[in-house]
């Protein structure tokens, strides 16, 4: 890893309010080339908000964000050419076919139509969904849609990937493929920033884990470092410990007790 180089992503004191609610309370972060970062945290901790701010979807933050050395605040769109994004909620123009959708996205990145079409089709083939390339996306299964989203984020060979829950809906085999793709991409110098709720996946593939809670970073480091700090065996346990959650057993017992109540 070349951590002596200039960082790919720099976030300084990022704060964001929705109305009176403080969603992000000062995030500081430096990300370097080739890192695979697992961005984890409980629901509503501010994970997706961070990513959306970086992509320009949410305005009105305070603090500074630099992507590849450029400040993103002054209506700059050039940096988006270097980013590939898979959103958390699979929003997609689903009355289009995959061919139409993917060439459209490619063209928005400034690629030439014929080339995108060809590239997209080949990527679809590798994912084993080539036969639906000309069917409307609305007819796809959840996993197929997710594959289309993953392809759409890679068409322009971006340097940075923001993948929000990239594995949702994928079957076990596809998950393995995507995991391999991630490490392969990282080894080619791509920087990957992704979030997931599946802790053992995060544990295995990230070389840096950032845990965010209530809009603040509460842990940042490799899995080994986190393990040493927390004296816990698995990321799941670390997660529970750092988010102050340890009553899962009693909650489960209470739940089942209600289920079993007599009619």
């Amino acid at each position: 890893m070349n951590s002596n180089q200039e960082p790919i992503i720099t976030i300084k004191d990022l704060k964001m309010n929705f109305g009176k609610k403080e969603v992000l309370k000062g995030i500081n972060l430096e990300v370097h080339e080739g890192q695979i970062i697992g961005y984890i945290g409980p629901n509503g901790a501010g994970k997706s908000t961070t990513v959306k701010i970086i992509l320009g979807l949410i305005e009105g933050y305070t603090g500074e964000i630099k992507i590849l050395g450029q400040d993103i605040s002054n209506n700059n769109i050039e940096y988006k050419k270097k980013i590939g994004y898979v959103p958390e909620i699979a929003e997609i123009y689903d009355t289009l076919t995959a061919r139409e959708y993917l060439t459209f996205i490619g063209e928005l990145y400034g690629l030439e139509q014929g080339r995108v079409d060809n590239k997209a089709q080949r990527l679809m083939k590798i994912f084993g969904i080539e036969e639906v390339y000309d069917s409307r996306i609305s007819s796809y299964s959840k996993g197929m849609k997710q594959k289309v989203l993953i392809i759409s984020s890679l068409l322009h060979n971006p340097d940075i990937l923001f993948w929000d829950e990239p594995l949702s809906g994928l079957d076990a085999n596809s998950v393995m493929v995507v995991k391999e793709i991630l490490s392969e991409l990282a080894s080619k110098g791509k920087t990957i920033f992704y979030s997931s709720h599946i802790m053992d996946v995060v544990e295995k593939i990230s070389n840096r884990i950032i845990l965010i809670k209530d809009g603040q970073i509460v842990a940042d480091g490799s899995f080994q470092e986190l393990k040493d700090n927390c004296m816990e065996g698995s990321l799941e346990e670390i997660f529970n410990q750092l988010t102050g959650f340890n009553d899962h057993k009693s909650i489960a017992q209470e739940f089942v007790a209600i289920v079993q109540e007599g009619e």
């Binding site: 949410i58 769109i77 959103p87 929003e91 009355t95 289009l96």
Partner: protein
């Protein structure tokens, strides 16, 4: 992807977009995708009556463009108004009132999705596309449709105007239509901003839903009105300008004709004319200023903060205890009443018919009113028109099986339901309590006001007959579990013969009732008979 002629025309204005700093190539790509997607959806208001066969559905054909001729027929209403004399301020204000209403409600009901699509931001704005280009693409998208729509609506009137009033009139008319379109887009957007500022997305969707319903009704009634417009409106009114007219936009647009063509330099008319030009231009400026606010508020569309009211739940619960015989039936009663209350697509399909069944009984009375007086009507048997509100019943029964979320019908399969009869009974009872009975009660009260208390027994009999009619409608239409089929399947629907036969059946029930009124105890005997028949019918027919 298809190449669109519209876009080729747009290419001619390439330079113009470049000047304002829009990336034309990207904007064109976005529009191409948008128009392709539009080709794959059905407009709401007119789509109801628009039957597509399956083969057609496969092809991309913009059904809005195809339905334009319907708007053209509606636009023909305005021909006689244009033709009629030279009382411009009145004629043209009326025309602009019609145009503004039609264009605005169509914009809200059919093209809100263009203004309100939040996917755009997530899908396109995360790519290297600047917000100016994206917003311009949206604006052009809406404007393309407005152009088609107003051309179809105002086309007949425009052509008539050249022939009747000459080229100057035509040019003023044309220019004003363009100004009007700009104004309408901006007003609509501003209304949305306002609603989203104070309410959440669900409320806005509800409001759009009601506009759609109103538009469907107005269009259907509009066809009836084409021939009669001059009976309803006396066009030779002398127009007296008043201060409050400053707030009536159609009058602004009527004034320039008066000023330029009739050389009427009344201060009022001059100010109206000035408003017609200045306000649209100012509003565009405001709109451009407010677009970022709009975009931000749009994010609220996904937030549903509002909570359901609890009050009506108690009522539904109490009613279900009285009229439902089993637990299952009660469950489906509650379930169906919630769906009736919440599902917008259902409302869109059913509420227009609901509106018609409110109006129809009175239309006949008012038609007679013109030839005879009130006292004649009050002593007549005109109250039989109340049977017309039962035309809602076939629609209800036929629509029962459809839902936008028809796939959720898997629950029927996995639940251990003993007999389907309770599903149907519960649902139909819910429909009646929620829709039919309130309608009937309101109508009965009005009818008693008109015809006096003497018709009370008859109204009871009407209600009993309607109860039987519900069962008969169920018996003779295709049966499927409630909310288990998609609305697209509704397009094939029930054949005309069935619908007609059901109407005849209703007529038959009304006829027997009518004949009974000639013997002194006829109605009472019929009531007793119907109570028995209803009880048996409700018990037997649903068990299939």
């Amino acid at each position: 992807m298809k190449e669109f002629k519209t876009l080729m025309v747009l290419d001619k204005f390439k330079g113009l977009f470049r000047i304002v700093g829009v990336d034309y190539i990207v904007m064109r790509k976005i529009l191409q995708v948008k128009l392709t997607m539009d080709g794959r959806r059905v407009p709401t208001a007119i789509g109801n009556s628009w039957k597509k066969n399956n083969e057609q559905e496969k092809k991309d054909s913009n059904s809005f463009i195809k339905s334009l001729w319907l708007y053209m027929i509606l636009g023909a209403i305005m021909i006689p108004i244009v033709m009629h004399g030279e009382n411009y301020i009145f004629q043209m204000s009326l025309i602009f009132a019609i145009l503004m209403f039609m264009v605005m409600s169509t914009l809200i009901s059919d093209f809100s999705y263009v203004l309100l699509d939040i996917r755009d931001r997530n899908i396109i704005f995360t790519k290297p596309v600047d917000s100016k280009t994206l917003n311009m693409a949206k604006a052009v998208h809406v404007f393309i449709y407005m152009l088609f729509l107003t051309t179809a609506l105002a086309g007949p009137a425009l052509i008539t105007s050249i022939i009747k009033h000459g080229i100057l009139f035509f040019l003023i008319f044309l220019l004003e239509i363009i100004l009007m379109n700009l104004l309408i887009v901006v007003i609509t957007a501003l209304i949305y901003i306002l609603i989203l500022k104070f309410f959440d997305g669900e409320k806005l969707k509800d409001i759009i839903n009601y506009v759609q319903i109103a538009l469907s009704m107005v269009i259907a009634l509009g066809y009836q009105l084409v021939g009669r417009i001059f009976n309803v409106i006396d066009i030779n009114v002398i127009f007296v300008p008043k201060w409050w007219q400053y707030f009536i936009m159609p009058i602004w647009f009527g004034a320039p004709f008066e000023v330029i063509l009739n050389r009427n330099y009344n201060t009022f008319f001059v100010v109206f004319s000035a408003l017609a030009v200045i306000i649209p231009i100012i509003s565009i400026a405001i709109y451009i200023k407010l677009t970022p606010v709009f975009e931000r508020n749009l994010q609220k569309l996904n937030n549903n903060t509002s909570k359901g009211e609890k009050g009506s739940k108690k009522f539904i619960n109490a009613i279900s205890n009285i009229i439902c015989s089993s637990k299952e039936e009660k469950a489906f009663f509650t379930f169906a009443s919630n769906i009736v209350k919440n599902e917008r697509e259902f409302k869109l399909k059913v509420y227009p018919s609901l509106g018609f069944s409110i109006i129809f009984p009175f239309i006949f009375i008012f038609n007679t009113l013109r030839s005879t007086g009130w006292s004649n009507i009050a002593s007549s048997k005109m109250y039989f028109t109340i049977y017309l509100c039962a035309i809602l019943i076939p629609t209800l029964i036929m629509m029962m099986k459809f839902s936008g979320k028809y796939k959720a019908a898997w629950i029927y399969k996995v639940l251990p339901i003993k007999e389907t009869a309770s599903i149907f009974k519960g649902t139909i009872k819910a429909f009646m309590i929620k829709l039919l009975i309130p309608l009937f009660i309101i109508q009965s009260i009005i009818f008693i006001k008109i015809f006096g208390f003497r018709i009370f027994d008859d109204l009871i009999l009407v209600l009993l007959n309607m109860l039987l009619y519900v069962v008969l409608c169920f018996k003779f239409t295709k049966k499927a579990l409630p909310f288990s089929e998609s609305y697209e399947a509704a397009q094939q629907g029930e054949d005309v013969v069935t619908t007609f036969a059901l109407m005849m059946l209703l007529g038959g029930l009304a006829l027997i009732h009518f004949l009974c009124t000639f013997s002194s105890f006829g109605v009472y005997i019929y009531i007793l008979a119907m109570i028995c028949i209803d009880m048996v019918a409700w018990r037997k027919v649903f068990a299939i």
